[in-house]
């Protein structure tokens, strides 16, 4: 900033003259710079238009058609959308996804916050702990971890045997429609490292004086957490809640792999995107699948809007504290 100002001030009169004398030239140069900028971006713009924007617009159109990939799409208005509400498997997929989001997200965030608070204090080997807790977030989404998960939660595998030690004879979660979804919840909770790192950053920002002052006033640990930590990190908390919720809605890979691409048994892991995939790519009901995709977008947008609206009730930005 400073240099820019001095540059203008120290500019020789000649230069200033040129600038005022040839505004057209300047404009042309500006335009050329813009052109260069766009050209640099062009691979990404082309990618965006071809691979994101184009398909999105197309899917919006397909959502109102009967389209089996082979015949040309036939306009059927809102039929795909009304059909969803009559479809027991669609209802099941909504139920499964909602369950996953509502159970998995809070658990993951609680664990992330808890561990972040433990790691916020300086101790030996801190970097190692952080790296270790973060690692699952890096590999958790991979297909191979899905396979590992599948075998961990099978009959007679580690989880089954550990549970049996405590007298709980459930058997393998993977084959049991009442349990398999919880193995997916466990998989997402296990990846608490990513929100944890964000919480850690938030916790480091809380001024120490606040805690010292509170302690002097006789506030206990719970009180300090409730009245200082939580409000101070509420923007970070909001960010994490938003990110993880939206992310959870889109669960696909783990459900697909852990259920051996069946999204079962008995549709117990038929998450929304999995049903969408089955309708679109197995049953070739691309119109219905497109409508489902837009419905998901609407639902996620609605949840996001509600979260943003709720912000003013519980999220405190720095201005409020001052």
């Amino acid at each position: 900033m400073g240099t820019a100002v001095t540059l203008v001030k120290d500019a020789p009169p000649a230069a200033r003259k040129t600038r005022s004398a040839a505004p057209a030239d300047r404009k042309r140069r500006g335009r050329r710079e813009n052109l260069a900028g766009y050209l640099f971006m062009s691979p990404w713009i082309a990618g965006f238009l071809l691979l994101t924007a184009g398909p999105m617009v197309a899917s919006l159109y397909f959502a109102f058609t009967d389209y089996n990939l082979f015949n040309s799409p036939k306009w059927i208005g809102f039929d795909n959308f009304t059909r969803m509400f009559d479809d027991p498997r669609w209802q099941k997929s909504v139920e499964v996804t909602a369950k996953y989001v509502v159970i998995g997200t809070p658990l993951k965030l609680l664990l992330a916050l808890g561990v972040a608070m433990l790691l916020a204090q300086s101790r030996r080997g801190q970097a190692l702990y952080r790296a270790a807790f973060y690692a699952p977030s890096l590999i958790g989404a991979s297909v191979s971890v899905g396979f590992v998960w599948r075998s961990l939660f099978s009959d007679g595998a580690v989880v089954d045997r550990t549970q049996s030690l405590f007298g709980m004879h459930v058997g393998g979660w993977v084959g049991d429609p009442d349990w398999i979804l919880y193995s997916l919840v466990a998989l997402t909770v296990w990846q608490f490292g990513a929100p944890m790192v964000i919480f850690l950053a938030g916790l480091k920002q809380v001024p120490r004086e606040l805690y010292e002052a509170a302690e002097m006033d006789g506030a206990g640990p719970f009180r300090r957490f409730w009245s200082i930590t939580l409000p101070m990190i509420s923007p970070v908390l909001f960010f994490n809640v938003l990110l993880e919720t939206v992310h959870s809605f889109q669960i696909f890979g783990s459900a697909y792999v852990v259920s051996n691409s069946q999204c079962g048994p008995a549709d117990a892991t038929l998450v929304y995107t999995c049903y969408l995939y089955q309708q679109g790519f197995k049953n070739a009901q691309m119109g219905f699948a497109s409508a489902m995709a837009w419905m998901l977008l609407l639902a996620v947008a609605l949840v996001t809007a509600v979260l943003f609206w709720s912000q003013k009730k519980w999220v405190h930005y720095e201005e409020d504290v001052r």
Binding site: R29, R32, E33, L35, A36, L39, F40, S42, P43, A46, N68, L69, F70, P88, S154, D155, G171, G172, V174, G175, D176, P177, S259, N260, S261, Q262, G264, P265, A266, D267, A268, F281, K282, N283, A284, Q285
Partner: protein, 428 residues
Amino acid sequence: MGTGTNVERRTVLKVAGVSAVTLGLTATGCGGSDGTSADGTVTIRYSWWGAEERAKKINQSIALFEKKYPKIKVKTDFQDYPSFWEKFQTQAAGGNPPDVFQNAVGFLRKYDKRGILLDLKTQIDAGNLSLDHFRPGVTSVGQVDGKQLGIPVGSNTMALVIDKKVYEKAGVDPTAGWTWDEYFKALKTIYDKTEVPGDTGYFSIMYLYDLYLRQNGKAFFTKDGLGFEESDLTEWWTDGYSRVKAGIVTSPKVVAQDTPKSSLSAGHGASEFTWDNFTVRYTAEGSSTYGLAPIPTTDGKDTGQYLASLMLSGSARTKHPKEVAQFINFMVHDPAVGKIMGYDRGILATTDQYDAFKPTDTVQKEIAQYEVDTAKAGVLGTITPHPSGADTAESAFLRIGGDMALGKTKVADAVKQFFSEAQAAFSA
């Protein structure tokens, strides 16, 4: 800034160049050439489903083909069965299906209706492909409405694959013409004596229910729909569910965990209704000895069986129908190919290959004997047509049958659900 303009111009040019190259590459990637190179060498794409073992054999066969036809190169890829058809559907919809591919009866009408399959009649008339020297009755599997849409590579038939060790231990000896009552009694004996459920889940296998229906004068499919009533299936599934609860049929919870392995080869069931050539796979997968037993009957004689077949089909879009025909012809007739492939895809379909391959291991010998015996018993009927959407109906049958057996869906609801999904599949 005077030089600046130059730099800019150069940069602009570079960027433009890079972008052009990138876009150009993308374009080539999408465009797909017609597979002919400058020296007249033609490349055809061949896709199939199966596992590593089959891939090895097919690659050896292709090496022979390319030696005989140096101007034709064959590019291959393979997946497991469900992934294969997902990928195929997407490729076919995009107008880019493989030139030659493995096919089965359940997909003929579906892809014929969509104009994907090459009618090989013209190539047969042109002399590039021969329908002579096939074992009797085999070629009809590939015919739909007077078109030859697939050429069989091998024939197979539904059978009861059994875990011989468990059957022996329980003292059960299946005989030709045994009835369903005898079969279900045997399951109970097996379970009582060995604690192994006798069957891995017969009630959700479309091809088996088809046999049962055929024994009773019906069939699973008609040309354009289902060949049975809701009441038929309600009875079939009610009985199935009670047998799961009795423990004589493997719990679907266990089956779900065993997949993609079969519960039979995993040791969680003593028998399974499936294609006779699957004993090859189960022997490789499991630790017991596996054999073939007759299909139970309703009247003490009729099993409802027929010869089915894996086929090779061509794409209607291919730019090289002649080469495709030559390739199929070589793969089904060449004796050396028969020797390499064995009974991996069923009993070899042509007499040339059938005579060339003499199985030395008990498993393949037994498959050959099974089909000879079945043919001799005079129970082989003709295959019933599969309507467009049969594949989707089949997987819905398997899935919903499993849900029902888990006790998660009432039988009546499961039956309704199946009928509604099947209707949707036929009209798609």
